[in-house]
């Protein structure tokens, strides 16, 4: 089982260390760092490795590396998920994504949180809303003394007696609940514009400000879209299995209700993409062209479209023409970025140009790819609709709403 948690910055320095069983020497960290940086494969080291009879499990997020050390056989996935939860909880409590600075500024709080999140080797409470009751999030304004601890006595038993994710006696005014259905499309497009493969990865985020213990039921137009689905723990899995409706008492505040994956698309891919790229050996230049067109009749507008092409090391002197938008070239990362603020309707936009290779060295064997990002409000690619949202046990007026956003996930054009 796990012994220790380390948080490292991009230079391999320890930002935080927490030990549950004994103390793990820092030696192992420097060894891990050597392993990680060996042969320039920083991104390629598998997340679970063995160093000197110890198992190291790590994930990275927001330029920080979270690493746990275990010395016995253990379930690695549990700790990867736990680390992801640590990041989530830190973001909530620090009111900003956890970075080296924000972690250091919040060290005592971070320790308090870790102490509650994992006891010995068992992950226990990892829901932000429950943790808020155990840890004074705004410690200074509400003096938190044991003398006035009657409050805690009730909180504590509520917490364990009731639901693991929602406490009693929550009050809100006004009462409101909003859902964001965010669908991301992963696709690989050939240079001819033909789609090689695509899938939609989606999630429903929820912001819940409801009083008491409301029970919600949500019905969809076509539940078969949700074949590959993962639910938040608040959802009654048995009801879903039997009746294909969602039945749940939501946690308080923001949370991710469910995620689903779908291969079927009700609509066309909203953005048509094609292009070509060739390295000219003689001229030592790369010549390329990218064409985009909005092609979904349902889409009213599509904004903030960008095309990113990571080029070979040492490329320089781009010469580019576009019909719309602006092109930026970063000569440190050798990335070319084309940004289009507003896509016109029924009209092709294009970027054409060339880039110079360094005068020495070999011509790259592989062609680059173009990574395309976009976001469209009000479109739902999978065709999912919420046909009914019912909230019981709450007499007051409730504001509710569902919003759809379609956007690019891993959307690449292969030249």
């Amino acid at each position: 089982m796990i012994k220790s948690l380390f948080i490292l910055n991009t230079g391999g320095d320890i930002v935080l260390e927490k030990h549950w069983q004994g103390r793990t020497g820092r030696n192992i960290i420097s060894q891990f760092w050597n392993e990680l940086t060996k042969g320039n494969r920083t991104k390629d080291l598998p997340p679970i490795i063995r160093i000197r009879r110890q198992t190291l499990i790590y994930i990275r997020k927001y330029n920080l590396l979270y690493l746990v050390v275990a010395d016995q056989d253990t379930s690695p996935l549990m700790f990867i998920e736990f680390l992801n939860r640590v990041i989530e909880v830190f973001s909530n409590f620090f009111s900003t994504e956890p970075t080296e600075t924000s972690v250091k500024e919040n060290l005592p709080k971070a320790f308090e949180l870790l102490g509650e999140m994992m006891d010995n080797v068992f992950p226990v409470t990892t829901e932000s809303s429950m943790l808020r009751d155990m840890i004074g999030a705004t410690m200074k304004s509400t003096p938190n003394t044991i003398e006035n601890s009657k409050k805690f006595a009730t909180l504590s038993s509520d917490q364990v007696g009731g639901l693991p994710w929602r406490r009693k006696n929550i009050k809100h005014s006004p009462n409101e609940i909003f859902f964001d259905v965010i669908e991301s499309i992963n696709a690989t497009i050939e240079r001819s514009g033909k789609c090689l493969n695509s899938e939609i990865i989606s999630k429903i985020n929820c912001e819940c400000k409801l009083s008491g213990m409301p029970t919600l039921t949500m019905v969809f137009n076509n539940s078969s879209i949700l074949e590959d689905v993962s639910f938040h723990q608040c959802i009654n899995l048995d009801t879903w299995e039997r009746r294909k409706i969602l039945d749940f008492i939501p946690p308080d505040g923001q949370f991710e209700l469910l995620t689903y994956r779908s291969n079927r698309m009700q609509t066309q891919i909203p953005l048509y993409t094609s292009g070509r790229f060739n390295w000219s050996k003689k001229k030592r230049r790369g010549k390329f062209e990218v064409i985009l067109q909005l092609r979904n009749s349902l889409v009213k507008s599509i904004e903030n479209v960008s095309v990113l092409i990571p080029l070979a090391q040492g490329c320089s002197s781009p010469s580019i023409k576009t019909t719309n938008g602006a092109v930026f070239f970063n000569d440190q990362t050798f990335e070319l970025k084309w940004e289009i603020k507003k896509m016109p309707k029924n009209k092709e936009v294009s970027m054409k140009g060339s880039i110079k290779l360094p005068s020495k060295g070999s011509i790259p064997r592989e062609k680059p790819v173009a990574i395309i990002t976009f976001s469209i409000e009000g479109l739902c690619m999978s065709g999912l609709k919420v046909t009914n949202l019912n909230i019981s046990k709450l007499k007051k007026k409730i504001f509710k709403g569902v919003k759809f956003i379609s956007k690019s996930g891993n959307f690449t054009l292969k030249f």
Partner: protein, 904 residues
């Protein structure tokens, strides 16, 4: 230094002051220091006083501090016990739970005793939060002192909690029991008919982590009949839609286990259908989760090849997938290849083969070859792709194609040989062993169709002596085949190879195979031809990489490390654990380790046998993953080690031998060149060379003095400045007079005198400043003391003493150093080299791919020093771990060891 001292002083004042807010600030600061690794243990007493605070946040910080430092101050920790007991009775349940949790984590034996009473009370607390915390605490204590827990009846208390009305308490009690089961000598808890329904109910209401624990406990249950298995699966299936990937994976494992109790094909079919989307959904997670998921999916697909039918697109590699994810995806894609999807897969593979990452590209080329072998209708297309890859002229791609093409020939003989020409034409230099032997095999097998086969083979034979054994064997066989095809052109070649192989080679395999061929050819060439060129069984493509027994073991261990590393769980039994478990009898402890090692070796051997067996059916050469080969290597290495151990034992028992070493050492002394410490110019005609040496249990300064003037020199004197080791010369530099151009040797005994140790400066140095006097003239110079002269002859520890000492020194004191670019990593030679310098061998063993040796040494100033050398034979490097009570000298020692190991 002094700045830090000031800071500590200031904190101390604030902590013991009256001002509550200052106190709190100070505690925060202390904790902040603690986390960046600064030593604030000296504030222990002051922080302890703050424990009585009314401020919950501050209390938590104080508890945090205690958890970190209590281990180092066991005597002081006793002072805390009373406060703990008070807090465990506090009216706030959060405080009660905090106290119990902290007491359980402190791991100080003295505290444990006092914990029993409050723990028993908390296990029966009214508040479920306190109760579940207490349940986990029992598991923690069990690890430290199982007998205490059993004798106090805590196990019974835990079992009673399973029937608690609160699901959180039930699930935590289960988690604790499961943890205890994993360390206890015999299980304290098994699921039976009575508690099963209670457990299933708790699963429905528990939080995500408890669900994982419950599912893992549940997987160990054997259903009584098919119907029960079905109903259990029905209960678990909904869990597979959980957001938490760990819950999903544990559900998959439990369902797979219960499925083995079900015979109805139709029922199983429905379960497959329900499981598939959950497995696939795991890939929508971040890459780290994907990696674990893919490793596990790999196992599931090996067992149930059709489970993911039609889902192949999910496993297509994305541009920005990390390499570790891409490699795993590719592996699964190959397993999923069939008539229907092969077209799409080949297209993907071809794209992958043009990427940048070399290992990935090679694997992609192999994938094309495997598709050709697995799906006959696609072979033609695969070959087309392979030929176009050859044209790319990229070194590692061509090499890989050669290997793959050879396997295609073995699967479809006499069908695609027309491509041999293209292959031979585009041959660049092959340096990879496997592709080299593949090419040689092709030349031998088709010697009659390749026009210049004898020339090609001859060019390979030029470097016969330098080749790897695998290539040599292949060359031998192929030359014989060539001879059988074209006897007139190759007789000479064959003669050469056979005589080299039989007379010059030291490899018994090669020699014997050569003799067999020789005898066959000389007895009856026709029969030999029939045998050697006879038809060979075809190789076959298969999905299953592992022997069924291993596969079952791995599937049973699904959420654990085994399922990620694809090795049986015994591989992850660490000796740390064994150390902890067999505390009382250290002698046995040591045996325990060795036994575990031995068993593991056996296990691996068994597995390897199995793998080889399976492979023989497939044809050992197409083994897609080189795992089995690695294991083979490992095993040969292990065998080698066994020999070494034996010879060492003999030598150890033989005292006469050891004396011989001693003599050898003093003889060698003469040859060691002395270092110039005073040159003639500076010394006004007196030149001195010197070196520190150890013999007869003492340190000597061996000097040679030369008079380069025209007049005799006399009145010599020698004084050492105080130094880090306390070395002090005890004797005259040289008696009498040194005549012109005369050189005389002198050896001064240099005992260690504590009074002569230099203290005032923190810096430890192996430099000795010395003053040499001659006829009332004084010269100042310096010399280095090699660390090994300080190692005494009685530095050898027994295994059990060593183990105990090693354990007594905490992990964090251990110092590590990487020694790379060794010319010699043979453990026997390393042992000789070190023992020559009074660094004594204690024990050795194998761990993973490393060979680990333990040494001990003793010095007067630092006592015993313990060394662990983890030798990596693949990279010729050593990881040196040093543990000592006095760590001041460790840096110097590490440098010395590196020097010893690298000198010839």
């Amino acid at each position: 230094m002094s700045k830090q001292r000031d800071e500590l002083h200031e904190l101390r004042l604030k902590l013991s002051g009256e001002n509550a807010s200052h106190q709190k600030e100070a505690v925060k600061q202390v904790v902040a220091y603690m986390t960046v690794g600064k030593d604030v243990s000296s504030l222990f007493t002051e922080v302890l006083k703050c424990m009585t605070t009314e401020d919950l946040e501050m209390k938590k910080l104080v508890y945090l501090y205690l958890m970190t430092y209590a281990k180092f101050k066991p005597d002081l920790s006793i002072l805390v016990v009373n406060s703990f007991i008070q807090d465990a009775k506090d009216e706030n349940p959060l405080v009660r739970a905090l106290a119990i949790r902290t007491m359980g984590s402190i791991r100080v034996e003295e505290v444990t005793e006092y914990l029993c009473q409050p723990l028993r009370r908390c296990l029966k607390d009214d508040d479920p939060y306190v109760k579940k915390t207490a349940a986990l605490c029992v598991a923690k204590l069990f690890e430290m002192d199982p007998e205490l827990i059993e004798s106090q009846g805590f196990i019974e208390d835990l079992l009673a909690l399973i029937t608690d009305s609160n699901s959180m308490v039930v699930s935590n009690a289960l988690a604790a029991l499961q943890e205890i089961n994993s360390v206890a000598s015999k299980p304290v808890f098994v699921i039976d008919k009575k508690n099963l329904s209670k457990i299933l109910n708790a699963m429905g209401e528990a939080n995500e982590w408890s669900q994982v624990f419950i599912l893992d406990t549940l997987s160990t249950y054997t259903p009584r009949n098919e119907r029960e298995a079905e109903s259990l699966i029905e209960r678990i299936i909904p869990r597979m839609s959980h957001k938490n990937a760990a819950v999903v994976l544990s559900s998959v494992r439990a369902i797979l286990q219960f499925m083995s109790n079900i015979k109805s094909k139709k029922v199983l079919e429905t379960y497959y259908r329900k499981m598939a989307p959950s497995l696939v959904s795991l890939l929508t997670n971040p890459p780290e989760v994907q990696y674990v998921a893919l490793k596990n999916i790999n196992l599931v697909v090996q067992k149930y090849p059709t489970i993911l039918k039609g889902s192949h697109k999910v496993f297509f590699c994305r541009y920005n997938d990390p390499t570790y994810v891409k490699m795993e995806k590719l592996e699964i894609l190959i397993m999923l290849a069939n008539e229907d999807n092969v077209e799409a897969l080949l297209k993907e593979f071809k794209v992958y083969a043009q990427e940048v990452d070399v290992t990935f590209v090679r694997k992609a080329v192999r994938a094309i070859g495997l598709a050709a072998i697995k799906i006959p209708s696609a072979t033609q297309r695969c070959i087309k792709h392979l030929l176009s890859l050859i044209k790319s002229q990229i070194h590692y791609v061509t090499q890989e194609v050669v290997v793959v093409v050879k396997d295609i020939f073995r699967k479809y003989p006499n069908k695609y040989e027309s491509i041999i020409g293209t292959l031979c034409n585009s041959l660049t230099t092959l340096d990879d062993i496997e592709s080299k032997s593949s090419m040689i095999w092709i030349i031998g097998q088709y010697a009659d169709r390749i026009e210049n086969s004898e020339e090609l083979l001859e060019s390979f034979l030029e470097t016969f002596d330098e080749e790897n054994p695998e290539v040599q064997l292949q060359l031998l066989t192929s030359t014989v085949k060539l001879f059988l095809h074209k006897p007139e052109d190759s007789q000479e070649l064959l003669q050469d190879v056979l005589s080299t192989a039989t007379q010059e080679s030291e490899n018994p395999d090669l020699r014997e195979r050569a003799y067999i061929y020789w005898r066959m050819l000389s007895t009856d060439p026709d029969v030999a031809k029939e045998i050697i060129l006879g038809e060979k069984p075809l190789i076959e493509g298969t999905n299953r990489k592992y022997h069924i027994d291993l596969l079952e073991t791995l599937l049973f261990n699904i959420p654990s490390l085994s399922s990620v590393f694809h090795k049986p769980p015994e591989n992850f039994v660490t000796n740390v654990k064994v150390f902890l478990r067999e505390d009382e009898e250290i002698e046995n402890d040591e045996e325990g380790i060795l036994q575990v090692e031995e068993e593991r070796e056996k296990e691996q051997e068994k597995q390897q046998e199995e793998t080889t067996n399976t492979n023989q059916n497939i044809g050992s050469l197409i083994d897609f993953n080189s795992e089995s080969k690695q294991q083979q290597n490992q095993n040969t290495q292990q065998q080698r080690t066994t020999h070494v151990v034996q010879s060492q034992d003999i030598r150890q028992n033989n005292n006469v031998n050891q004396d011989e070493y001693g003599m050898g050492l003093s003889k060698m002394n003469v040859d060691i060149p002395k270092k110039l410490i005073l040159d003639a110019e500076k010394g006004e005609g007196l030149e001195i060379k010197g070196i520190f040496q150890r013999r007869e249990n003492s340190i000597f300064y061996e000097l040679s003095l030369t008079n380069k003037t025209q007049a005799p020199i006399g009145g010599f004197a020698c004084v050492f400045n105080t130094n880090s080791f306390g070395l002090k010369p005890n004797g005259w530099l040289l008696d009498g007079v040194l005549m012109p151009m005369q050189t005389r040797g002198s050896s001064i005994p240099c005992p260690i005198e504590t009074s002569h140790i230099k203290h005032q400066n923190d810096q430890i140095s192996n430099l000795i400043q010395l003053a040499i006097g001659k006829d009332s003239q004084v010269y100042y110079c310096q010399d280095e003391v090699p660390f090994h002269v300080l190692c005494t002859e009685d530095g050898k520890l027994g295994r059990s003493e060593f183990l105990k000492a090693w354990k007594d020194i905490p992990d964090e004191v251990e110092s590590l150093k990487e020694i790379t670019d060794l010319t010699e990593s043979n453990s026997n030679i390393i042992k000789l080299k070190l023992e020559n310098k009074n660094i004594f061998f204690v024990a050795k063993r194998k761990a993973d791919e490393l060979e680990i040796m333990y040494f001990s040494l003793k010095t007067e100033m630092a006592g015993f020093v313990l060394l662990e050398l983890a030798i990596d034979h693949n990279s010729n490097s050593i990881q040196l771990a040093t543990r000592a009570n006095n760590i001041d000298f460790v840096g110097m020692l590490e440098l010395e060891i590196e020097k010893i190991l690298k000198e010839y």
